[in-house]
Amino acid sequence: MFDDSKTKTVLQVEDLKMHFPLIKGLMRRRVGTVKAVDGVSMTVQQGETVALVGESGCGKSTLGRTILRAYEPTAGHIHYNPRGSDNVVDLAGLNNNEMQKYRPDLRMIFQDPFTSLNPRLPVVDIISEPLRANKIAEGVEAKDRVADIMRKVGLRPEYMERYPHAFSGGERQRIVIARALVTNPHIVVADEAVSALDVSVRAQTLNLLQDLQDELDLTYLFVSHDLSVVEHIADRIAVMYVGRLVEFARAEDLFRRPLHPYTEALFSAIPIPHPKLRGKQHRVQLPGDVADPANPPSGCPFHPRCAYARDICKKEVPELAETGSGRTVSCHRADELALKGVL
């Protein structure tokens, strides 16, 4: 299934769907389905950083969490190739017990360093939890590993007995990172890992994430809506719109020459941090609101806002497919349009 080229495919997501029931009213009746992730396919190579971008509510977090099996996927496959092994397991097909074995390999960095740390436990307990839960290490050994990882993320091990409230936002985010990395994981989903941080602390944290990636040979799935951060850190970028991937490409390609009209519009909205370039940017205005994932439009979900839409777009759903130039995009007109990038 996986090709034998130099880079190893560690994750292959196939037609993954995560639908939530939409429940309303006192009687808690099911009134519909939120198709938060609706048929996503993508591959992730060992050691790379894949970013998931898109507007709020497009399903970025849900996709990340479903891959980690925080949810029970509605359909699809998550083929995972564990480190140092040629076997491939389909995480989507495992039950909770079988999944337990892979939890240490697939970890998550949360967005909010305040809500994702239990304020009632000291830092040492928080970070060592995955070690004890998975019987990887206990007692003194666990403590040593906690000290180790704290040092790696730039926290003083002496502070492990402190409670989260004794740390600032940036330090807490380091605790969150330490908890994710203490199991020596393979794949890390970083869900808006730096969005809650201040600019200066964000820079420290981004640097840290990059250093740790090199040092620990990590593969990142980096969920973010901050496109300048994404451009800075990602190797490849998956653009999502209402539960689907609309484009998946190398970061430079995407910024130089997007193939999907939504990518063009999204990227053109990035504020350019220099006043000299003011007004020189080609900006694509998007009319209307993001489509409702409980009730997506027919055909291409983007067509009501797309400036290039044709009749076919209203009727047929475009496939996520390779174009002539070898890039992956889901747009009926990808081959004929010449869209503008921001680089």
């Binding site: 969490r65 967005q111 809500t115 304020p119 000291p122 939890e129 839960a133 998975n134 409670y163 004794a166």
Partner: protein
């Protein structure tokens, strides 16, 4: 860009810390809550009062001057005595005896103080024999007449000449412990059923919610009356006592279960709970290690606020004559006896148990309020 390199720091250099460990940095939730609670002066005082009431209940036999069921027909409705510390300038703690006057026309007996009769009193005196907590035989009382046969009615006597003070003290034991035991039962039921309901959802949740709705929809007083009537008269007082407690808590747990369920549902989606699941923690561990400690303090505060309700329920039931029955002494039972005569006019001291109820309910409420405010020590974040 050369200039900028001055700002490039490695991770090691990024550590700038203050070295002094502040106490709150290593303080767990209970410590933080205690600090916060201490700032509530009223609640602290109320807490001391509540503690005092419970201590009185615990050491009832020792603290009461007499056996609460000992009757002396000579002293029916004897009024409260005053304690004098000196006699003729000499240190001699004492009370005065009674003289009975019979009204010529109405033939009513009234007590007047017999200034001549000095009844010396003391601490740790020998008196009626009793078994401490039903186990340890003893005969010392904290306070009492040096001669056990002398009348000693600090809070007056009732219809049968029983000492009100002793009865109120023994009533504290029963009434306060009913609140406590009742709330403990509700707490266990509420946390378990509410927790299951909230965490698992689905049909279990539905079933439990329907049961709660059913229990809540039955009017309480008739339900209690019906159930209390079903308790066999031949049962021993102790069994009756437990039966009543269970009855009262049967309704109490529903509110708590709702509360717990709401907390669990809102917390289930919280990041730190999802994190625990991704850490590989099993469901039961997530509940005991993360969820329960997070809401326990709220629930304890809530339960403290529920104790007064239980006490009032017992009082109400017993007052209506369908709760505890004599010879068990509870505040409700005592108040029921105050019904029998025009108590307010002739023997107002029979209403003292009512004051005791008010005092207990108020202090518990103040305490609970303070605890509720302290229950979330992380709220300022």
């Amino acid at each position: 860009m050369a200039d900028a390199s001055a700002y490039v720091k490695t991770n090691a250099e990024i550590q700038v810390y203050d070295d002094d460990v502040r106490a709150e940095d290593v303080a767990g939730q209970w410590q933080l809550m205690w600090w916060r609670f201490k700032r509530h002066k009223v609640a602290v005082i109320a807490g001391i009062c509540v503690l005092f009431i419970y201590l009185v209940g615990i050491f009832a036999e020792f603290l009461s001057p007499m056996d609460p069921n000992d009757h002396h027909t000579r002293y029916t409705y004897a009024p409260p005595q005053n304690v004098d510390l000196f006699h003729d300038g000499q240190w001699l703690p004492h009370v005065k005896g009674y003289q009975v006057e019979i009204d010529q026309f109405t033939l009513r007996r009234t007590f007047v103080t017999d200034e001549e009769k000095i009844i010396p009193i003391g601490l740790f005196v020998k008196g009626d024999e009793y078994k401490m907590w039903g186990l340890i035989p003893w005969d010392r009382h904290l306070i009492g007449p040096l001669n056990p046969r002398d009348p000693f009615y600090l809070w007056g006597a009732d219809r049968l000449g029983r000492d009100m003070l002793s009865r109120v003290i023994h009533g504290a034991r029963v009434s306060m412990s009913i609140g406590l035991v009742g709330v403990a039962i509700s707490l266990v039921l509420g946390i378990i059923l509410g927790g299951i309901s909230g965490y698992f959802g689905g049909w279990i949740d539905n079933a439990i919610q329907r049961i709660i709705e059913f229990l809540k929809s039955i009017p309480t007083i008739p339900l209690w009356m019906g159930l209390a009537a079903a308790i066999p008269l031949t049962w021993e007082p102790l069994y009756v006592y437990f039966a009543i407690t269970v009855l009262i808590s049967l309704i109490g747990w529903t509110g708590l279960a709702r509360e717990v369920r709401g907390k669990v549902i809102s917390m289930k989606g919280d990041d730190f709970v999802i994190a625990a699941r991704l850490d590989g923690l099993r469901t039961n561990k997530i509940i005991t290690r993360h969820l329960v400690p997070s809401f326990l303090s709220h629930i304890i505060a809530q339960t403290t606020l529920a104790i007064p309700d239980m006490i009032l329920s017992e009082t109400a039931l017993s007052f209506l004559g369908i709760g505890l029955q004599p010879p068990i002494v509870s505040w409700g039972v005592l108040l029921k006896e105050a019904q029998n005569i025009n108590a307010v006019a002739t023997a107002p001291w029979l209403m003292i148990p009512g004051l005791a109820v008010v005092f207990a309910v108020l202090t518990l409420n103040f305490l609970g309020d303070g605890m509720r405010d302290a229950a979330d020590p992380y709220s300022h974040h």
